[in-house]
């Protein structure tokens, strides 16, 4: 083919989408999801089990020789579109994308089989706000025992395995800690559908799984892949907000007219449509670039993240405004999407952080 990456969806990707969507439509409805805000996390493990084991989502990015499906970032991105559309409270991004990529890049493949089978989940122990390419806060190690804590880690609550960046004199290392050994404290989070937790590792024994260079690369790639693919989740959030708002404005009447016929609103929704379609293209390009190991992947990831983060927030904010009072209620699901969108905007690098990364990558220095 010409050197242009394909930004459309393949038939295989569409069938992955269909199966994820039909499962989520039954088991991750807004009424089910909203319970996590009242601290009710029952059923979440079963939901993840169904996605991870029954549909095989946990295995997507794991190569076949390690017991995985050997699929690519493109399929994972389609899964994230659907998870975004349902604000599903599952550790796909944190475990099956970020932690799995870290293990793969670190060459620590012995755990991948269990992760792929959906038997265990893992989390990279860095603050969820960490941008790729930035120094990660790391705990220290003394005689095989860790010292220190990490805040606001996503996916830590459910993780059986924590991948902990550890700072040593020789540079960054990646260590593995059993989830049960660390003190994990849940944090009441802006987005309870991806609740963050603080981890205290003081006095916890660990196993080193990657040394200096490999650990830097593993953490960097994991965060970059996470950022690249989270763009698809943000697109999914935005698309739901747009679709739901358009549908509502087609039935809501005021002043004797369908509200969606007022030109001021039509124009806002047209602009939002343009933004959402653009977000989709940016996310698709990032996923395709990661899948192909394309030299442009870092630029693609940062451009997508910078754009899609804001697109999702805009879509959620517009959804709430254009629903009027209904949009402010707990009963209407729009708030779930706003919370996810706003948290995602901070996660894995804010748009500003990605602009700074890009400025270096494309030679547009600040001063």
């Amino acid at each position: 083919m010409s050197d242009e990456l394909d930004l459309l969806y393949t038939d295989v990707e569409e069938s992955v989408r269909d199966s994820v969507r039909s499962l989520l439509a039954k088991r991750s409805t807004p009424e089910q999801v909203v319970r996590v805000y009242d601290g009710d996390r029952s059923g979440l493990a079963e939901l993840w089990q169904a996605l991870a084991a029954e549909l095989g989502l946990a295995a997507l990015l794991v190569p076949e020789e390690h017991g995985g499906a050997g699929a690519s970032a493109r399929e994972a991105a389609v899964v994230l579109e659907e998870l975004g559309r349902y604000v599903a409270p599952v550790p796909f991004l944190t475990s099956a994308v970020v932690a799995t990529t870290a293990l793969l890049e670190a060459g620590a493949t012995d755990r991948l089989g269990e992760l792929a089978a959906g038997e265990r989940t893992a989390a990279l122990a860095v603050p969820f706000s960490t941008a790729p390419g930035r120094a990660v806060p790391a705990v220290s190690v003394d005689g095989g025992v860790l010292q220190g804590s990490v805040h606001a880690v996503a996916g830590a609550l459910e993780a059986d395995l924590l991948l902990v960046p550890v700072r040593t004199d020789g540079g960054l290392e990646l260590h593995e800690v059993s989830g049960g050994d660390a003190r994990v404290t849940p944090v009441t989070s802006l987005d309870m559908t991806r609740q963050v937790a603080d981890i205290d590792l003081t006095g916890v024994a660990s196993r080193r799984i990657a040394g200096a260079d490999a650990a830097e690369r593993a953490v960097g790639r994991a965060l970059e892949t996470g950022a690249a693919l989270m763009a698809s989740e943000q697109y999914g959030v935005a698309q739901w907000c747009l679709d739901t708002t358009v549908e509502y404005l087609k039935i809501r009447r005021q002043f004797g007219r369908i509200v969606g016929g007022f030109q001021a609103l039509k124009h806002r929704l047209a602009d939002l449509y343009v933004t959402v379609e653009s977000a989709r293209a940016a996310a698709r390009y990032a996923a395709a670039a990661v899948a192909a190991g394309h030299p442009d992947r870092s630029v693609a990831a940062s451009a997508a993240q910078a754009y899609c983060a804001d697109a999702a927030v805009l879509a959620a904010e517009e959804a709430i405004q254009l629903h009027g009072g209904v949009g402010m209620t707990w009963e209407h699901p729009a708030h779930l999407y706003l919370k996810r969108a706003k948290a995602d905007q901070i996660a894995l690098g804010t748009p500003g952080a990605h602009h700074a990364l890009l400025a270096a990558l494309v030679d547009l220095p600040a001063a």
Binding site: L7, L8, I258, G261, H267, Y273
Partner: protein
């Protein structure tokens, strides 16, 4: 080898053959362009015999690259934007075999430049209100009326023209589409000076212009449908974007930023990076649109690309003037000229800023495009219409 690989290999072989038989360095430019057209390498998605090979549209970029690498001349697409972007796809879709054979080759080679006689003083956004009359006279039509904002009419050999043929029908149903010879007696072109100082567009007066019925495009009364096809192609042509990273306005601004460190400020940097990302995302959106269109015709989604293009062009050209500071206070030349090509990014920053204002007006204003997206893509209720079933002649004017 997949089928696509085979097609690519076959295309490369065709390019090789063309280059071997017509070495660019030793061949007259026009001769080379004609040979390229005849080899089906002009627009590969057109049918064989009409400059193409019936292949997916996106393969054209591949051919262009191979030929550019070999130093082959291109057909200078900027000189004939309306011909290539609007007239050609419309003629292909609605023309008779004779019309396609007659017009497409000289259009593509640039031997014949085209312009678009659509807008009128009383019919802009509401193009279907147009009043230029075409009356049947045996196997001819006699056309009378006035067009306005006609880009490039001063250098055009041919025009696409919409005229009213049935004033008794409601406005959308009484129009017919024609190809108009700009050298015909009765066609008068007068420059209309614009915001930049030059006269890229014109007023065109049509007085008893005699158009043979063989130059009618589509059926009598079908003019709106044909014009809609043209307008959708126009939006893709304007907004379709540059396949290169930093093609277009962002490239100009980024270039200035790199070359002139003394102009940089943190506030401008924040705006530049945001717009850089938006331009890059617009490029990907355009690429997705092209991939989607690979076989079919543009739909209302093309309007989205044009909306983004216009907004970015305006924001970037505005940013560039601020970046230039005192230099931005200068303008290079106000003398009235009649340009050969339509420049979006050429010339100096002041020109770019002023010309970009047209991007949200030409080819459908941004307001009209938002209506199209809202109604035809999102399915929101149409604007109230009071003139739908009224005969055109009875409409208040």
């Amino acid at each position: 080898m997949t089928d696509t690989d085979k097609t690519i290999a076959d295309l490369a072989a065709r390019v090789e053959k063309l280059l071997a038989e017509h070495p660019p360095a030793a061949t007259d430019r026009l001769e080379f362009l004609r040979a390229r057209f005849d080899a089906g390498l002009a627009w590969v998605h057109f049918p064989e015999g009409l400059g193409g090979l019936g292949l997916p549209r996106e393969l054209q970029a591949h051919v262009d690259r191979l030929l550019a690498r070999a130093g082959a001349p291109d057909n200078d697409p900027r000189r004939n934007g309306i011909g290539l972007g609007m007239a050609a796809p419309t003629i292909l879709a609605y023309g008779t075999e004779e019309q396609k054979k007659r017009f497409l080759r000289p259009l593509w080679t640039g031997e014949e430049i085209w312009c678009q006689l659509f807008s009128e003083p009383g019919a802009g956004s509401d193009l279907a209100a147009l009043a230029t009359r075409a009356e049947r006279d045996g196997d001819h039509w006699i056309v009378n009326g006035q067009k306005v904002w006609t880009s490039g009419a001063h250098k055009a050999r041919w025009a696409i023209l919409v005229a009213r043929t049935d004033p008794g029908a409601p406005k959308h149903r009484g129009m017919t589409y024609f190809l108009c010879d700009m050298t015909d007696p009765g066609v008068e072109v007068r420059p209309l000076r614009q915001i930049t100082g030059e006269a890229e567009f014109n007023e065109v007066f049509l007085t008893d212009v005699k158009i043979p019925d063989s130059l009618r495009l589509g059926e009598e009364g079908e003019g709106w449908r044909v014009a809609t096809a043209t307008l959708m192609n126009e939006r893709v042509a304007i907004g379709g974007g540059d396949p290169r990273r930093e093609g277009g306005m962002i490239g100009v601004v980024a270039g200035t930023w790199r070359e002139r460190p003394e102009l940089r400020t943190p506030e401008l940097h924040a705006r530049l990076m945001r717009l850089w990302v938006e331009a890059e995302v617009a490029r990907m959106t355009g690429r997705r649109l092209r991939q989607k269109l690979a076989a079919g015709q543009p739909g209302p989604e093309g309007s989205a690309a044009k909306l983004t293009f216009a907004r970015l062009a305006q924001q970037l050209s505005g940013l560039e003037l601020e970046l230039l500071g005192a230099e931005g206070l200068r303008y290079d030349d106000w003398t009235m000229k009649r340009p050969e090509v339509v420049e979006f990014t050429g010339k100096d920053a002041g020109y770019r800023y002023l010309r970009a204002k047209g991007n949200s007006i030409e080819g459908g204003t941004s307001e009209i495009l938002r209506n199209i997206v809202a109604e035809r893509v999102l399915g929101l209720p149409p604007e109230p219409r009071t003139d739908k079933d009224v005969p055109w002649k009875d409409l208040p004017r």
